[in-house]
């Protein structure tokens, strides 16, 4: 007579994900911190303009360049605008730039990469050539060139960031597509009449997503830094739009005379946001593939 050992009921996918997430966050509380920070940033981006004490565009030259006080937590800038309000409102724009860039490069790079890996041949060669050409440039220099050529708008910054990150995403996606090219579910999809493009879009690309999501978090940080850098040299967002990079640029001239708050707070906000995305990326990497932990 055999005794069948009782097996625990199989968890649903979501429950397993939550349990695994809790384990990873427990293992590394820094990741938990990153998640919390991320939520804060999203909230600031969503609610920013509605919760700030002052109108970010309202200037009041009588209050210009006042250091931080209770009335103006982060001080005022050279036009008397409240730095705190501007920093919080700028979250929305910078977050948007980050998300848009990452979405664009995922679609562009991801699709080109899986196509290259799936079809091979000329597709692969052309995508490879494009990636190589982009990678032959120092990336920020290329972004400068693209934004200069196309014009100083937010859309162009997003496009430039996406182009500059294209090779990395294409390469990762290509490798993954190569592996899955002959997988069972692909065969099944083909046999049920799906065209190659549908297979690429609906079968392979979604499978590549988890691998790319780690990179996407890191790219979000990079996108913000890139936009800030471009704004700093005058190629980004135009004043008076509140954006962290351009606020640092405007505040830079006052550092040598000691008015530090102008440039410091937007710069600190930049740092916190990028730090958060980087930590998030590390945490996601631990969740997705513990072998690759650094």
């Amino acid at each position: 007579m055999s005794v069948v050992a009782a097996t625990p009921p199989r968890e649903s996918g979501l429950a397993a994900l939550i349990r695994h997430s809790r384990y990873v966050i427990g293992e590394n509380p820094v990741t938990g911190l990153a998640f919390a920070l991320f939520v804060l940033i999203v909230l600031a981006a969503a609610l920013g303009p509605h919760i700030v004490p002052y109108d970010p565009l309202q200037s009041d030259t009588s209050e210009a360049l006042k250091p931080p006080t209770l009335h103006h937590l982060f001080g005022t800038d050279q036009l008397g605008r409240d730095v705190f309000s501007r920093v919080v409102v700028a979250t929305r724009l910078d977050f948007f730039i980050a998300v848009a860039s990452v979405a664009l490069v995922f679609v562009m790079g991801g699709f080109a990469g899986v196509a290259a890996g799936f079809f091979g041949g000329w597709t692969d060669r052309i995508v490879g050539r494009i990636a190589d050409t982009i990678m032959a440039f120092p990336l920020f220099v290329l972004a400068m060139g693209i934004v200069a050529a196309l014009g100083n708008t937010v859309q162009n910054i997003v496009i430039a960031t996406a182009i500059v990150n294209f090779p990395l995403y294409a390469r990762i996606a290509r490798a993954e597509a190569n592996v899955r090219r002959d997988a069972g579910f692909v065969e099944a999809a083909r046999l049920s009449g799906n065209s190659d493009w549908r297979i690429l879009a609906f079968q392979i690309l979604p499978n590549v997503f988890p691998i790319l999501v780690v990179q996407m978090s890191l790219t979000m940080g990079y996108a913000i830094l890139n936009a800030a850098g471009l704004s700093f040299i005058g190629l980004g967002v135009r004043p008076p739009t509140p954006e962290w990079g351009i606020m640092v640029a405007e505040g830079a001239q006052f550092i040598v005379s000691g008015e530090w708050w102008n440039a410091f707070f937007p710069g600190a906000a930049l740092m916190v946001a990028v730090f958060c995305f980087n930590l998030l990326g590390d945490g996601l990497r631990d969740m997705v593939d513990p072998r690759r932990r650094t």
Binding site: R129, D132, T133, M135, A136, F137, P138, L139, F140, V141, L142, A143, M144, G145, I146, A148, A149, L150, G151, G221, L225, A228, G229, F232, I233, G234, L235, G245, V248, A249, G251, A252, I255, V256, S257, G258, W260, A263, F264, G267, L270, M271, V272, V274, F275, N278, L279, D282, T294
Partner: protein, 337 residues
């Protein structure tokens, strides 16, 4: 070894071709009409048209490209509209300033990051290791221009230790006689010690800024690589053979661990060359980065073209050197069929 170099050179050629094409396309797309600028604000439409013909801007794009390539082959990068000087000459004059800064920044970075990475690897999961990880992540999150500004505020404004961020040399000093263009080297050659110290003082903050910026990827890669190598079979053999700690960690482990770090240097250079532009703006450094930014804002396309081209060629060359360096250290690459 020679075949390795030739092969890498051959692989670089298509990249360079792509670079030339992209640069041309980008700068022809710059807004603003150079002909109008060149002709001056009082010019009539006919005058502007004459200037346009003279500059060859009325020809089809393909012809313009052809002419561009021919001029490139002769080392002619065009003339700056704002300064009237040939771009090639200006770039050549300004390149040493950027190079000196970037190389010093990289040196600072390596000198700090590599030992940090090695230490973190020999004591994994210790406080030092966590500190190293946090410092690296912070370094990567700080916008490079922000770091520069903070350093200026703390060390110039608050502490008064550093000189004003106004370029390569204080007004009281004259630049040393030109040999390499690197003030540090040239002043030593001329035996002019005060100028050496003065240029070094100006270099400290911007080099430190660049160094902090590139610290993170190098430290991270060194740590990861050392960790992997320290637990490898051949290090175990070296330990079992009773070799000294120094031999095991430095001669055996470190040399192997540096291989991936050297490969990372390529990526680090890409970041550095970009960050250079930003740092030059913060510290009013007369290098090619600031040259390009000024030209860009004036829609002066020849310098921008020249700058992007130069940066890309520099970058391709640096990657080639890195490959060669890698081949010198790792014999397995040399014997690649």
């Amino acid at each position: 070894m020679l075949t390795l170099i030739l092969k890498r050179l051959a692989m670089a050629v298509p990249s360079l071709i792509g670079v030339v094409i992209v640069t041309f396309v980008l700068t022809r797309a710059l807004p603003g009409d150079p002909a109008a600028y060149f002709a001056g604000p009082a010019a009539t439409p006919q005058a502007i048209q004459e200037v346009r013909i003279k500059l060859g801007l009325d020809k089809p794009l393909i012809q313009q490209f052809g002419r561009y390539v021919v001029e490139l082959a002769h080392g002619n990068l065009g003339t700056s509209l704002t300064t009237g000087q040939p771009v090639a000459i200006e770039l050549r004059n300004r390149l040493p300033a950027s190079a000196e800064l970037t190389l010093l920044g990289l040196l600072v970075s390596i000198v700090v990051a590599v030992p940090l990475g090695i230490l973190a690897a020999t004591k994994p999961n210790s406080m030092l290791d966590h500190a190293c990880r946090i410092i690296s992540t912070l370094g990567v999150s700080l916008p490079v221009f922000f770091t520069g500004l903070i350093l200026v505020y703390v060390f110039y404004f608050l502490l008064g230790w550093a000189p004003a961020p106004l370029g390569r040399l204080d007004v009281f000093y004259t630049e040393p006689p030109h040999v390499t263009g690197f003030y540090l080297i040239d002043s030593l050659i001329a035996g002019d010690f005060p100028t050496f110290v003065a240029s070094l003082k100006q270099l400290v903050l911007p080099a430190l800024t660049l160094g902090i910026f590139s610290l993170a990827p190098i430290a991270r890669m060194t740590r990861a690589s050392m960790l992997a190598v320290l637990s490898s079979d051949f290090v175990r053999t070296a330990r079992a053979s009773g070799l000294s700690s120094y031999t095991v960690i430095v001669t055996y482990a470190f040399r192997n661990a540096m291989l991936p770090v050297i490969t990372t240097l390529g990526m680090v250079f890409s970041f550095l060359l970009g960050a250079n532009v930003l740092v030059e703006k913060v510290f009013a450094w007369p290098g090619i980065g600031s040259y390009a930014v000024e030209a860009l804002l004036a829609s002066d396309f020849a310098p921008v073209q020249g700058f992007v081209l130069t940066m890309a060629v520099l970058y391709v060359t640096l990657n080639l050197l890195i490959d060669v360096l890698y081949g010198l250290i790792d014999p397995r690459v040399r014997f690649d069929a």
